[in-house]
Point group: C2
Chain length 345, copies 2
């Protein structure tokens, strides 16, 4: 089903509002989900909405919470998310970091007790669009095995880095697993075989069977190096936020537990202004126009593909799983919609 982004935004906002979410919070949470769809990452999109609503319904998410923030030291913001929606808490923290970094040069936020943030690229891009550099890392349930190991001991531990340029920001966003758990689930649904090297089964043996992989573990990306980076992120977040380490993390995927993972944002204010941004853009353009491996596939830099997809999606909409879209529409309470007559047709 092809859906326009405005339509998806309205449906998501309406459902969140009907669950008791204040309008500004519904807007931010819905935008984060729709933005993931537009970037071509449905695993972080509308698919998450039924689970979010269920978590609100069960009191695992407090949709009213804006987070309790205080500056412990001049460049250190401690954030208790008070079980709030991840994007609401994170954007509140980021706003403070941007302002503080302008004064001190750099500032970080250690966020506990917030719900799932969705794609980190959304945040670092927003910061970069305001002329600041942002590094974001987050933890999750244990899904990834160590290099040389066979048990899930690490989260998929994404890192995102946004850097302002004189054009669109540089936006890197990567999980430190070779593939996302969402992709494993997607293969399981379609009955498709996994690639060699992606996953191990429960007993620690290599498997291409997605159903077995779901009970097992995913490989880190890039062998020992990717494992090391994922573990460093685990320690940075767990160590600075004081949140749980992967084997004890709950509540980012399930509907039974309060979320106890952590999130860490670092914002840095670059000097040099427009001239510096131009220099960065020129270097990125040189990389893009360097000799490609395949003549018809120019070299890309992180964020290029997602930006292209988003542009297409804003003009032509994006595909949503039929059953998911039907489910979401069936939940709509007509009285909670004001400007959505077209959905009732």
């Amino acid at each position: 089903m092809r859906v326009r982004s405005e339509e998806a935004q309205e449906v998501a906002e309406a459902l969140l509002a009907a669950a008791g979410t204040p309008a500004p919070h519904s807007r931010i949470q819905a935008e984060t989900l729709v933005s993931a769809e537009m970037r071509g990452h449905p695993s972080h999109g509308l698919l998450r909405l039924p689970r979010l609503l269920e978590r609100i319904d069960k009191g695992l998410i407090d949709p009213q919470a804006s987070g309790d923030m205080h500056w412990l030291r001049p460049s250190e913001l401690r954030v208790d998310g008070l079980r709030g929606l991840g994007p609401v808490i994170a954007f509140n923290a980021i706003e403070q970091l941007i302002s503080r970094a302008a004064d001190t040069g750099i500032a970080f936020a250690a966020i506990s007790n917030a719900n799932h943030l969705g794609m980190l690229s959304v945040y670092v891009e927003a910061v970069a669009e305001q002329g600041k550099i942002c590094i974001a890392v987050s933890t999750s349930e244990a899904l990834v095995h160590p290099y040389g190991g066979t048990q899930a001991m690490l989260g998929t531990n994404p890192i995102a880095i946004g850097v302002p340029t004189s054009n669109a920001p540089f936006v890197l966003d990567l999980a430190t697993s070779v593939v996302s758990m969402g992709k494993i689930h997607d293969h399981a649904l379609r009955g498709a075989a996994l690639k060699d090297g992606w996953a191990l089964d429960e007993d620690g043996n290599p498997t291409t069977d997605a159903e077995r992989a779901k009970k097992g573990s995913i490989a880190p990306f890039g062998d020992a190096k990717g494992y090391g980076l994922g573990l460093a992120i685990e320690l940075l977040v767990g160590g600075l936020v004081g949140s749980a380490f992967a084997p004890d993390v709950r509540g980012t995927l399930d509907a039974d537990n309060v979320s106890n993972k952590g999130d860490l944002f670092i914002v840095i204010d670059p000097i040099g202004g427009a001239q510096q941004f131009t220099r960065i853009s020129q270097y990125l353009d040189a990389v893009r126009s360097s000799r490609p491996a395949h003549p018809t596939c120019p070299v890309l830099t992180p964020g290029d593909r997602a930006r292209h997809r988003r542009h297409c999606a804003s003009e032509h909409g994006f595909d949503v799983n039929d059953a998911l879209w039907a489910d979401l529409r069936s939940r709509i309470n007509p009285s909670s919609l004001q400007s959505m007559q077209e959905l009732q047709s």
Copy 2:
């Protein structure tokens, strides 16, 4: 040739002193080289010393310089290395960061105009031993091709992360290339074939010929993700330090140019004290004792292997290339040595 670390330290100090390096600077530079040898990374060890001496001789390194440091903002240290020895400038900056982070929570140093730092693990480990978290990144000459590209456009751009624990620190140190240029040179010397996927030749074609690879480019580690991380480091350093981007970097490998790469250090002061460090150690121990892929090879965490090697090296010394050691010894001016009678024997 097996060499004791004390002996290597004395030889390196003596040669640096003879080139006009003040004693404290000789000690720091020599320790950094010897520490790399002891960790099992001779590519960053004594091999570098003849080139360092040549650069001092040519005025490309000022061995007296301690760097010009000023706090531009409360958490931002700007460092002009004044062509000083990399380790001297970096340790001076780090000392200030550690003290400042205790007040502000986090602080960073943007270092320009310093010479090659050697292994970044040395620095992040020193910071972690003082109870602080450290993230270090650095740039270099263009040696790495983009994912999907065939020309060297990025440096090998290492990242190191040190985290204090209740035992030895967690120390991650990785180049964002799949293999170091040092390893390519080593294969060239031995006439050994490179592994598939490591390198491209000058024309952008895959090669296992180390001589051809030296004129070509190395692959990023971990495909698109490692490329993205390497590029992010390029932008973080170039953007925050204002130093050259890889295609314009000179002076970390050659004997003809002032070094114009940049270095970036971020130091964060964790809260939670001993209890927090214990929690981190317990998690790392759980990872180490998780089920290994091969029963006789327990799971390691970053820094474990280097620590083991260093322990062995401190007891039994380490191997140095015969020709290199003979060269270094032949340069020694006996009058500059006081406690090295054994070397004259």
